[in-house]
């Protein structure tokens, strides 16, 4: 009997290699778990039938193009879109013996922090289905937490891998900008978008990263990794310098239970042999969110211009000339949040406002990158909560866009600087997972994995939601 709630991808690979289970049995186990739990949780927008394929199943966020498998980006405007080619990350997964299990729910075009902006309805948090799983990659994070996939691919623009991983109690990596190809992924904000792994533990996360990372001639923003990915063995943290940025750890939005769990993890770093010190990044938290919500919508307004009802996707049946067709198609096809961001972005880029908004935000971005670089002269990693709060109730922030934007207060700054970030579960507060955010310099993934692995072992967090365990 395969226990999908606890099976890691590494163990699944061993079972397949040693022929203890067949690929068909492995698929069937996940399919049974999906049939049992997904009607409640709604992690998947599409589940693939067993085509007799081999390999370890993987769930894929629905912003990543999959040949012959519907890819909607959580939007009505792509309701019937079926890509005619695979994204590079999917090709790499297939070449490494993985098979696509299904496509996971997301806020429309990955714009959101709760997965409530999906045109196909929200995903529920497996720890408490009255709460959100975070977003935008709530489907991938919830699927992994609920044993509906051993691991998953997500995408992260301002926190869409790290924040859902925090709220669902799994390990998620936003890789260094440029290390993973975006070819074939649906673009949101191209100077920020990154694809990355979501897993049940740090080793699986590192393993999946090793599969997808590396230069891709089809994505000219990608670079070669300076070092090969190392699977962490993680014993101690001797010689490691851990920085605790005050603004990220003392912000008033941080819930007391979150602060306590993170403080305990920082204390553990010390016990594991790390040198721990305070530091200050005065601009990142206060100016990161405003900077992000100018740059990301500006780039989104440009990237989303392609949805015009001409080459693919929805076209309004409500007649009119070509211009009216464009305008109606976009009004009927896009959801509210997409429209808000298109409007903000178009405004910020329009004549007379460009310098004051977009241009100024790009300068703020330089300030944030510089103050992170300065901190890394003294420290190897920076730690903080990933999310200021545990999973919030469905509907709690959906009527107030600004309250929703603050969900990403602590994940946004490092994204602006192109830095890698790892979420590692560090305990529970009110019965819900708390995530620790580890930030390192560009290309420091191996260090993040080492720290994550050591902490994971020391903390002994159980990633299985108690309510899903049969008693």
């Amino acid at each position: 009997m395969i226990d999908t709630l606890r099976l890691t991808a590494e163990e699944a690979a061993r079972l397949l290699r040693e022929r203890e289970v067949s690929a068909a049995e492995l698929y069937a186990a996940y399919r049974a778990a999906i049939d049992e739990r997904d009607p409640e949780l709604h992690c998947y927008l599409h589940v693939c039938e067993d085509d007799g394929g081999e390999g370890i199943p993987i769930a894929v966020k629905d912003v990543i193009g999959t040949k012959g498998i519907p890819t909607t980006a959580g939007s009505k405007i792509l309701e019937n879109y079926v890509p005619v080619y695979d994204a590079t990350v999917i090709e790499r997964c297939k070449a490494n013996g993985l098979r696509v299990l299904g496509k996971t729910n997301t806020d429309e075009f990955a714009m959101g922090s709760s997965t409530e902006n999906s045109a196909y309805g929200p995903t529920k948090n497996p720890w408490d289905p009255t709460r959100v799983p975070g977003g935008s990659g709530g489907g991938s994070a919830a699927a992994v937490a609920a044993g509906l996939a051993p691991w998953a691919l997500g995408s992260d623009t301002g926190g869409s891998i790290k924040q859902p991983a925090a709220l669902c109690g799994n390990v998620g990596l936003r890789p260094t900008y440029g290390t993973v190809s975006r070819y074939g992924a649906i673009a949101f904000a191209s100077s920020l978008d990154q694809i990355g792994p979501v897993a049940r533990n740090v080793r699986d996360c590192a393993y999946l990263y090793s599969i997808i990372a590396g230069r891709d001639p089809a994505d000219s923003t990608t670079v070669e990794l300076p070092n090969a990915v190392e699977l962490p063995e993680g014993e101690d943290l001797k010689g490691l310098r851990v920085g605790v940025p005050r603004e990220f750890n003392e912000h008033e939005a941080i819930e007391p239970g979150v602060r306590e769990a993170v403080q305990r993890a920082i204390e553990l770093c010390r016990e594991l042999g790390a040198e721990v010190g305070d530091c200050s990044l005065p601009y990142s938290v206060d100016y990161g969110m405003p900077c992000y919500y100018l740059i990301a919508p500006a780039e989104a307004s440009s990237n989303l211009a392609r949805y015009d009802g001409v080459r693919f996707g929805y076209r309004s049946p409500n007649g009119g000339d070509r211009l009216e067709m464009y305008e109606r198609t976009r009004d009927e096809g896009f959801g509210e949040e997409s429209k808000r961001r298109i409007m903000i972005g178009t405004y910020a880029l329009s004549a007379g406002y460009y310098d004051a908004y977009y241009g100024q935000a790009q300068k703020v971005r330089t300030v944030l990158a510089r103050e992170h670089a300065q901190a890394f002269e003294r420290f190897d990693v920076l730690v903080s909560p990933t999310s200021p709060s545990v999973a919030f109730k469905l509907g709690a922030r959906s009527e107030n866009p600004l309250a929703m934007y603050l969900s990403d207060l602590l994940t946004i700054p490092s994204c602006m600087a192109g830095l890698p970030g790892l979420n590692v579960p560090c305990g529970l507060s009110e019965g819900l997972p708390v995530g620790l955010q580890l930030i390192g310099p560009q290309f420091s993934e191996n260090v993040l994995f080492r720290v994550g692995q050591a902490l994971e072992t020391a903390i002994g967090f159980d990633p299985v939601p108690a309510r899903l365990v049969d008693v």
Binding site: T221, Y287, P290, E324, K339, M343, Y347, Q360, L402, Q442
Partner: protein, 97 residues
């Protein structure tokens, strides 16, 4: 402090090719003004000497050899078209503005 009025909102919607319905104009207008007030915080800083960042990595142009290779067949390129005519995408006649 930034403030988008109704005319500006409709102008921006037109630039973005969005035909907003009346109830959206009202709702979006209020929300956009709240969001703009929050993001306008970036203008508090004097950054006259600071260069902008448009790309987080220190990389320069990437050149690829100019070698022909297979591209999508026409049938696949048109597979998702809402409407086609022969090997073309079909669209309604052009508008006036």
């Amino acid at each position: 402090m930034a403030n988008i009025d109704r005319d500006q909102l409709l102008h921006v919607a037109r630039l973005a090719r969005l035909e907003l319905r009346e109830e959206e104009v009202e709702r979006l207008g209020a929300q956009l003004n709240d969001i703009l007030a929050a993001v306008s915080k970036v203008s508090e800083l004097d950054l006259s000497g600071v260069p902008p960042t448009s790309h987080p990595l220190d990389v320069v142009n990437v050149w690829a050899a100019d070698e022909p290779h297979a591209s999508l067949p026409v049938e696949e390129a048109l597979a998702n078209a809402p409407e086609r005519e022969g090997s073309y995408f079909r669209v309604p006649p052009g508008g006036s503005s």
